[in-house]
């Protein structure tokens, strides 16, 4: 007797269903399979109905099937069994050496077709094992295909299989949606039909390579275009290429907006820094000019000093605009009704427009309050109105609208929420897309005489106020600027403390420690304060000031200090003074806005801050406000 060599796979228990109505043949087969008996568990049935009943309750690994039974014959027998046992391997054992039937059954899912009398036990057992392996492989392939098909059909990315000449052979729904077509419409189309001229060359290079990545603009039939990111794999099958497609148009837009925003932020920081340095210089000029004015011996000298002061005020106004763009301007926030603000400046708008421009104001009542600086809002209206006037050299209509706007969709340029909307529309020349994209950049202007700060200032103020601004424009049809400021409601309706604007020249007698690394400004301020009657101690930086504090025996009523100084800065000095002289008041002076003070970590009442450049009268008034409050 021959011995079968078995590997670990062969020792696996195989469940066999033998469907055979000839007792002698059945005995032959079970006899042949008797070696080795331990690996097989064979169930014998003689009729199709019996086999189908068995398959309802059992899952054999392989079915040995005679096609001609008492209750069924030929292909019908195979078909019924295959339907009932899709996971089992089927081995047809037939007395007919019928090639056509053999091919048909194998093509339809049988794993093998053996003619009786042509096999021994060894061959039969091997055929059974091969049949099971083939079935398992086929099942794995089927599952793999089902998985790939599910991924293909449900992918959010477009997947397309192209022929060698770029014709779409297969595509998923996402690919169709990308070019605004159904999947069926896309199949048969040429890729290059959607692409820019010259993409044929790119396609040729891709086809010749193994893989590639890139982007192209897809031009849709409706005239729009989408930016498509693709990942290409050549010859996934001979002459068939795979392309994964992703619409990145919106992502590209977002990135552009982010870049613009970052650029504006950077320019804003730069503008703020420049304004700070300018303010220090202007402080020196205006301080000395005030001293000159007060000591002038004749009207001519006094007049010159006044002109210098006037010029520094104009220059200070310019730096205020820069600070506003850089969002570093000192704000006096309070609850505002924009309609009231508009009423206040309407006469100025009238003057600005002149006779050639008709003005229409449509202010809806009770649209809600916003938290903003009134003078800044006035500046926003005036700057936008001035911009509109410039756009209508031949005259036209200016429409200013205030209404409530509820945004329920999350847009990059405007988050959801309730807003008061201020819209300023003109019927002027309009702007190109390129101009619109740069319109809020500082120093960008389309006018020969413009400073390029008007709209950038508006942008800065709106951002500083927590709002948003959009522009819509069409060449020769006019432009609309819309400012969106969040509606303040509920617990937020508490007015912010406002700084006293009262300025007066008041004499004093207390001791003041004045600290500023700008020597000229420090000296001028010192001279002025001494002229007011104060005793003034001066230092060029925090370290010197600390030494004076520690050494000076008498009381120091007020520390006036800059923030950014060499060696020891304002924060270190203020901390020291508060520790060693708790009775000393503090007044911070800076070319930056007050938010810079908080960034430097100095906890301070906002009323104890004075932004450079300041007039000596303003300084005097501020000093008295602090010291008299203390008293």
């Amino acid at each position: 007797m021959s011995t079968l060599v078995m590997d670990s796979r062969q020792t696996e228990l195989l469940r066999v269903l033998l469907v055979e109505d000839n007792a002698v043949d059945a005995k032959f087969i079970t006899g042949l399979l008797r070696v080795p008996t331990a690996t097989l568990q064979c169930k014998h049935v003689t009729r199709l109905a019996e086999a189908l009943g068995h398959l309802e309750r059992n899952h054999p690994d392989v079915i040995l099937l005679d096609l001609n039974l008492e209750d069924s014959a030929g292909y019908e027998t195979f078909y019924r069994i295959r339907q009932a046992a899709s996971r089992a391997a089927i081995l047809v054992l037939s007395g007919s050496d019928d090639e056509d039937l053999a091919i048909k059954t194998v093509r339809e899912g049988a794993q093998d077709y053996l003619v009786k009398g042509t096999f021994d036990g060894r061959l039969l057992l091997r055929s059974i094992r091969y049949a099971i392996e083939r079935k398992r492989t086929a099942e794995a392939l089927r599952q793999s295909e089902a998985t790939v098909r599910a991924i293909f059909e449900n992918s959010l990315e477009g997947i397309v299989i192209f022929s060698g000449n770029g014709i779409c052979l297969e595509a998923n729904d996402a690919a169709g949606a990308l070019v605004n077509l159904s999947r069926k419409e896309l199949i048969g189309c040429r890729l290059c039909d959607f692409c820019e001229k010259g993409f044929e060359q790119v396609w040729a290079e891709l086809s010749a390579s193994e893989s590639g990545r890139g982007q192209f603009w897809a031009h849709l039939k409706n005239g729009s275009r989408r930016l498509v990111d693709y990942c290409f794999t050549a010859n996934i099958l001979p002459g068939q290429h795979l392309a994964m497609l992703r619409d990145i148009t919106e992502q590209q837009d977002m990135e552009e907006q982010l870049r613009d925003s970052q650029k504006m932020e950077a320019v804003g920081r730069l503008a703020g820094g420049v304004a700070h340095d300018f303010n220090n210089i202007l402080g020196i000029i205006s301080g000395h000019a005030e001293l000159l004015e007060s000591s002038a011996s004749n009207p001519a000298e006094r007049g010159r000093a006044e002109k210098i002061i006037s010029a520094t005020e104009k220059a200070a106004s310019l730096t205020r605009q820069l600070l506003a763009f850089g969002r570093k301007q000192v704000m006096s926030l309070k609850l505002l009704d924009l309609s009231t603000v508009l009423e206040g400046v309407s006469s100025m708008v009238d003057c600005l427009m002149g006779a050639e421009v008709q003005i229409s104001i449509q202010a809806t009542k009770d649209v809600g309050l916003v938290r903003a600086d009134q003078s800044q809002m006035e500046q926003v209206i005036m700057n936008l109105a001035a911009n509109a006037r410039e756009a209508m050299p031949e005259g036209g209509t200016l429409t200013i609208t205030i209404d409530q706007y509820v945004n329920s969709t999350d847009q990059p340029e405007l988050p959801p929420g309730e807003y008061v909307r201020l819209s300023i529309n003109d019927t002027g020349t309009g702007m190109s897309q390129e101009v619109q994209s740069r319109i809020f950049e500082p120093f960008f202007t389309t006018k020969k005489t413009g400073s390029g700060l008007g709209l950038s200032t508006v942008y800065g103020i709106v951002k500083q106020s927590g709002g948003y601004i959009t522009v819509q424009s069409e060449a020769q049809r006019g432009s609309t600027f819309s400012v969106y400021l969040p509606v303040i409601s509920g617990s937020d309706l508490n007015p912010a403390p406002s700084e006293s604007r009262k300025r007066s020249h008041v004499p004093g007698h207390e001791t003041i420690l004045l600290v500023d690394n700008e020597g000229d400004l420090r000296n001028a301020s010192c001279e002025y304060l001494e002229s007011c009657g104060y005793r003034v101690l001066t230092a060029g930086d925090g370290k010197d000031a600390i030494e004076i504090c520690d050494r000076y025996a008498g009381p120091i009523s007020l520390l006036i200090s800059d923030i950014v100084m060499p060696r020891v800065g304002g924060r270190g000095l203020v901390d020291h003074v508060r520790k060693t002289r708790p009775g000393t008041n503090v007044l911070i002076i800076s070319g930056y806005a007050d938010d810079a003070v908080w960034r430097h970590g100095i906890a301070l009442d906002p009323s104890c801050f004075l932004q450079k450049p300041f007039t000596f009268q303003a300084l005097s008034a501020k000093i008295r406000a602090i010291l008299d409050k203390e008293a």
Binding site: K27, G31, G95, S96, F119
Partner: protein, 124 residues
């Protein structure tokens, strides 16, 4: 003692059968005994189909006995059974009786050879 090669003829290939059962005399005996008990019924079924002129029954019954003859490497008997099956397929009952008679004779010879194989211990 008859040897396998002495039993070999154009009608029957005992060597092929011997290899098919892996020289398992016990299995061969079980098969022969089963065949002996089954074959009268199988032949009777063919006879009945011929006498009642039922071609479909003739085809089925002939197909069955053909399968068994192939398993026993009884090629001549299998060939006669195939002819009977074809007669059944085309509905030709005429001549079937003669074929059945030939089949009976062939099977009788095969049975004798099979018993000789068993009796002699199926030695090469």
């Amino acid at each position: 003692m008859a040897r396998l090669n002495q039993l070999k003829s154009e009608h029957f290939d005992p060597d092929a059968l011997w290899h098919r059962v892996h020289g398992d005399v016990t299995l061969l005996r079980e098969l022969v005994e089963l065949f002996d008990s089954e074959v009268p019924g199988m032949l009777a079924r063919i006879d009945k189909a011929i006498k009642h002129a039922l071609p479909s029954d003739l085809e089925k019954a002939s197909h069955k006995i053909k399968g068994s003859m192939l398993q026993f490497s009884a090629h001549a008997a299998a060939a006669i059974a195939l002819n009977l099956e074809k007669n059944g397929q085309i509905g030709a009952i005429a001549g079937a009786a003669e074929l059945l008679q030939k089949l009976q004779q062939e099977i009788s010879e095969v049975q004798k050879a099979l018993h000789a194989m068993l009796r002699d211990g199926a030695q090469h």
